[in-house]
Amino acid sequence: MQGQPHKGPIIEVSGISKTFPGGVRALIDFSTKVRRGEVLVVIGPSGSGKSTFLRCLNGLEEVDGGSIVIDGIPLDDYKQHRLEIRKEVGMVFQLFNLFPHMTVVDNINLAQVLVRKKTKEEATEMTLSLLKKVGIPEKAKSFPSQLSGGQQQRVAIARALAMMPKVMLFDEATSALDPEMIGEVLEVMKTLAREGMTMVVVTHEMGFAREVSDRVIFMDGGRIVEEGTAEHFFDNPQEKRTKLFLSQIL
């Protein structure tokens, strides 16, 4: 852990590039900063590099060049730095990625015990309060396969929150859900935003972007095409490509 709380932006991304084997350039000289407590929504057509950007933030993808600093810790080749950053950054995936062979409680306890070195009792206490927060305390003893998609995703959010992260990343967290379950997951995300969690959200839910975001980035071809507040973005977009995209999805 760092001794002093770090001042300045919690996420600083400068000039990162990522080319996948096969030559697809997912990110090209991409830079941005995220303030503490800010909710940044990233939108764009599929293949625009928005998920890659998110996955670079906790080192699930290696960048080819440029730098990423999270809460003062550089994301570099030091294993220790990577581990520290992963402790501070929670992630929620499109396909939930719960551990199917463990109960809901064990899913959420696991990293608290192994990474945060809590006792099982301390972890379970935290887990039960988080399950209450995401609205499914009665599912503690269930296995993931016994839950609906919306419930699974809420467990996944609780699992990430159990690490007490400073930043939460959401990678199309509602894209794999049946329409009637999207609302319950978005509700949890809105609550988090209201509580001041720093969030980077890749989503196709424009209603959520409009209501919750402090800033919206529109990406295409691995670059930022347009960036601004939700009002600017939805009511008065400047770029042609942004207008085209919005007209297609709204």
Partner: protein
């Protein structure tokens, strides 16, 4: 409503199962009858004199109320010992070789690959001889140790491919979730990947364990008195070739079928959880 439907479904499947089981049993009995007939005809033309009544004393005898193991069962106990140690070591070799092959280290991958290819592409018999006649004197290994090592190295190479298949079958989202929570590679393997992978590869691992028990017959070539060797010795004394080999085969069959049944039971137990 749901319950009723489910029960109805099970009843339907049950009827089909029972009918097909009956037909299967009839087919099986018919097959046995044909085989027995052929064997009878064959031995008759050979003029073979069946002496099954002499077989039991090679399995066990009772003298003065005391139970005395026959040579075949003593051999079986040796087979058990070799197979049990061989299995434990084979699983360890297999697991570590699989992890080596999937590791980031170039050296580990080359070593693991070399081991698997070397073992898979040479006969087990040659490996047993090599270990016993070449390596055992150098390192001062006993007969049994050499046998167990040869067997476990051989089966471990196959087991490693089974483990590897199981590990790579785990969705990469599981790795990503574990890493995003800050779990190390070791913790991810131990708590997330291996528990799921091993459940998936239990059936092929069972086949490998059965192979190991059967392949252990080859250690009789370095004069270890296992089931096969005892059978051979008994035959050299009394010339009941057919009876003893049939008995030996039946004992192997009982052991391997018991193992299969045990693993099916284990699989069913493990499946309940998710």
């Amino acid at each position: 409503m749901m319950n009723k439907l489910k029960l109805g479904g099970r009843g339907f499947v049950g009827t089909i199962l029972r009918r097909s089981t009956l037909i299967d049993i009839l087919k099986f009995l018919l097959l046995i009858a044909i085989l027995t007939f052929l064997l009878y005809r064959g031995t008759k033309t050979l003029g073979y004199n069946w002496q099954w009544y002499r077989v039991p004393k090679y399995i066990f005898t009772i003298e003065e109320g005391r139970f005395i193991l026959g040579p075949l069962i003593e051999g079986l106990l040796v087979t058990f010992r070799i197979a049990a140690w061989g299995l434990i070591l084979a699983l360890i070799f297999g697991l570590f070789t699989a992890l080596f092959r999937l590791s980031h280290s170039f050296v580990a991958r080359v070593v693991a690959r070399g081991y698997v290819e070397l073992i898979r592409n040479t006969p087990l018999l040659v490996q047993i001889f090599f270990l016993y006649f070449v390596l055992a004197p150098i390192f001062g290994l006993g007969r049994l140790v050499a046998a167990v090592l040869a067997l476990s190295l051989f089966e471990g190479a196959y087991a490693s491919e089974i483990f590897r298949a199981g590990i790579v079958s785990i969705h990469k989202g599981q790795w990503e979730a574990a890493h995003s929570l800050g779990l190390s590679t070791f913790h991810t393997y131990r708590t997330i990947v291996l528990p799921q992978a091993i459940r998936r590869v239990l059936p092929p691992l069972t086949s490998q364990a059965i192979s190991l028990i059967k392949d252990s017959a080859l250690v009789s070539t370095i004069a270890i008195y296992d089931l096969t060797m005892q059978g051979r010795t008994v035959i050299s004394e009394n010339f009941m070739t057919f009876e003893i080999w049939f008995t030996v085969a039946a004992i192997y069959l009982v052991v391997t079928v018991a193992l299969s049944v045990f693993v099916s039971f284990l699989e069913a137990r493990l499946r309940v959880s998710y």
